[in-house]
Amino acid sequence: MPSLNLLLQALAAGVFMGALYGLIGLGLGLGWGILKQINLAHFAWVFLSAYLTYDFKTRWGIDPLVSLLILVPAFALLASLLQAVLAKFAITPFNSLMATFGISVSVEALLQLVWSADFRRMPSPYDEMKFRFGGIIVTYSESITVVLAVLVCAWVSWMLYKTDVGRCVRAAAEDADIAQAFGINARQLSLGLAGVCGGLAACAGVCVALTFTLAPSQIFAWIGVVFAVVMMGRLASAWAPLFAGLVVGISESLTMAITAPTWAPLVSFTLLILILLLRRGHD
């Protein structure tokens, strides 16, 4: 049995991972719950953003937090444009999964074309700086991720529940026809929401670049665990992915600390299976 210090360190690592899972899952869940699209391209955007962050830093020395300000609006626009195209085709949620998978495949190959399949790690001062709580070490990068995740969820929550636009978005998601009858332009809102999801992906990508070693094949490695996180909570929710992410992240890292790293996937996927089997049937 590992020492208390080790367990606490694992807990901290789990919080960080969970925050990242939640951040990635938020965009996926919003798209699924509100736009009724299962957007596999979301993962591609996260990694494209991560690679661009890496590039901006290594080529032009731009600080990742500054890249954030560039990439978020850029990806929001990109996602909006993509939605404008996709919305022309009436497709089921499942078909949207297939169509966006195609985009992921293309983006992964593009990443490999531009940056090669070599592992790339962004050198960052934020990695050197650390906080110390007792015996536990948390890097700046990890803290930034957690803070960003919380801030972003708070912002989404505020937008959805406290603003007029958010209310209209929720109304259109619940009953599109009646929303239209009262003047809500569902199409415009869907473009806006797609943009938000794109921005969320960009933000997650910056965090990934800060803390992980990048490789194009990584896109698909995250799909399983993030889906587990999204399915654990309600779909169109601002905070559920973060909480679910924390549950998964912490259980994974504790498992790794107590047994071995190779057992970690068992946790998230078994959780996913149990959730799918046990939750209330939805329409």
């Binding site: 009953d175 009646i178 009858a181 009262f182 003047g183």
Partner: protein
């Protein structure tokens, strides 16, 4: 104010309305009655742009509505109280009401309108923060009418408001509808409850199997044989 000229509407792939022509003048209370399956809801949905009109035109103050996207109709002065209420169940009564006042003119005045609606429906005021799905049928109907009123309409479209409600609540509701009409709002009321509808309206159209088979002042319609034939087959 509202005029339908020779309108043909499909429900999905099948034709549902044929050669429907009707009109509503300002401040009128007009009702459309007919047996189940006659096409009453299709008619209302066609006016609100939720069903496509295949042929014919729907004119609002002279402007043809049939080409407009559905979300542009509310701002022109039409508001819908749909069949089965169709409130946003997961949201509170308050939010449902706010979602009636989406278009700019209504939005500007929404605080005042909300107060007026609460006065009109004390039960709505009492349940303002409750989730809409938790209210009873009658209460939901009041909220649905309130939501439509928040849009500051010139014409209120009501689709079978008495459906599934207890008789006492039905009386109360028809009183409210009359009050609204007296306040200057035109009303198009689609109903299955014939006697109530005839009692409260000035003019009536009778819809059977997708066609208007009879129209005129309500008291005249009440004594005609078409109603008996349409509803009772006699």
């Amino acid at each position: 104010m509202l005029e339908l000229q020779n309108v043909h509407v499909n429900y999905g792939a099948a034709p549902a309305l044929w050669e429907v022509s009707m009109s509503i003048l300002p401040k009128e209370l007009v009702c459309v009655i007919g047996p189940n399956g006659a096409g009453k809801t299709t008619l209302i949905n066609a006016i609100m742009g939720l069903n496509r009109t295949r042929l014919g035109s729907i004119l609002w103050d002279g402007e043809d509505l049939t080409g407009l996207p559905a979300h542009r109709l509310c701002e022109r002065g039409l508001a819908l109280v749909p069949e089965g209420r169709r409130l946003y169940g997961s949201m509170s009564v308050h939010e449902n009401l706010l979602l009636g006042a989406v278009h700019p003119k209504a939005r500007a005045k929404r605080a005042d309108t909300l107060e007026w609606v609460c006065e009109l429906f004390p039960v709505v005021k009492a349940k303002l923060n409750q989730a809409a799905a938790q209210l009873s049928g009658g209460q939901q109907q009041m909220v649905a009418i309130g939501r439509a009123l928040m849009a500051l309409p010139q014409l209120l479209l009501l689709d079978e408001p008495s459906l599934g409600l207890a008789p006492s609540i039905v009386s109360e509701m028809f009183n409210v509808i009359q009050t609204i009409n007296r306040g200057g709002t035109s009303v198009l009321l689609v109903e299955q409850n014939v006697s109530r509808a005839l009692a409260v309206s000035e003019r009536t159209y009778v819809l059977e199997n997708g066609r208007i088979v009879s129209s005129g002042p309500s008291d005249v319609i009440a004594s005609q044989p078409e109603i008996k034939k349409a509803y009772l087959g006699l």
